[in-house]
Symmetry: C2
């Protein structure tokens, strides 16, 4: 951020009075520009013993497999965002979604919220997917998953299914685990 | 938003190519400025039969009672944000926090994430609180709560406690319910 989005003046990065961390401040109009994490909402669609994955048609991680998920938009609930992304990326409907993994990515300021639910009806590749397929556990392309959040969510799912007990998993993915996917660049 | 925060040029509000909703666009540098919901993280601190509430020392809703909660910051997990707000507003520590209510406020683009946990040790009013107190259910100041999210979280808690079964509650608060608190202005 270089300029105040309100008045167009240059901003400086400093701790406001009464605050404890630096923000982008506009000395011309007094605006304080807060920056906060963004939510990525998606689903884990389950069909019998199989789960649905999408192969990405867009960067980043083009060609890698993911769960349908994307940035939550203003004006929708977290659950609505998850179901919208599922419609858009997999032309699919998920019933009875319940929050299953909440994963904070602290160094890129994202929070993943993945809902587990039942795939209802058909599916097809939306414009952001090359392919959409159902996978048995044995066939999951573990080495070709797009993001560590997807791997973690799938591992929780198959573990929980083995013990027949599903619960919300809340965790963090830090820089080290991301480097396995993206290198240290 | 009037100006591009990257280059300082004026922005326009229009649907980018390949998108389906309007964004703030900069024709000078090509930046697309996405706007997304923000997370408000907090706790429901439980001490035996009582819960802890804070009376707000700041606007909005100065003088009204709330659970310790505030905007999640970059660089922290949702849970860390909830515990930090609890420290700051109530000088309190909550143990074994688990996500309890997730409430989307679709017309102000916020998502409340409140963690239920056990109050550990003492408490006191932080700089943003006039007062911090423990309340029995019978003494909850229902008519002097700061936000509908707080009322909903407390009602879930006392209902769940009666049936001795706590679970994650995911819901939405729309304009009508907010008007009960803030009027239609």
């Amino acid at each position: 951020m270089n300029y105040c989005s309100h008045c167009g003046h240059t901003v400086r990065f400093a701790i406001p009075d009464g605050d404890d961390r630096p923000r982008y401040l506009c000395d011309a109009c007094g605006a304080i520009h807060y920056q906060n994490p963004r939510i990525i909402a998606g689903t884990l669609p389950v069909a019998g013993k199989q789960v649905l994955l999408c192969r990405r048609a867009i960067a980043p991680r083009l060609g890698y497999w993911t769960l349908p998920a994307g940035f939550m938009e203003n004006g929708e609930t977290v659950e609505q965002a998850a179901l919208r992304e599922t419609r858009e990326e997999a032309c699919a409907v998920v019933e009875s979604p319940s929050l299953y993994t909440m994963i904070s990515l602290t160094h890129i300021n994202q929070v993943y919220m993945i809902f587990r639910g039942t795939l209802q009806g058909g599916y097809a590749a939306g414009p952001e997917s090359l392919d959409v397929e159902l996978f048995d556990e044995a066939d999951i392309p573990w080495d070709a998953l797009a993001f560590p959040t997807i791997e973690r969510t799938l591992r929780h799912f198959f573990d929980d299914r083995r013990r027949d007990r599903f619960e919300l998993h809340s965790s963090e993915i830090g820089e080290k685990e991301r480097e396995r996917y993206f290198g240290s660049a």
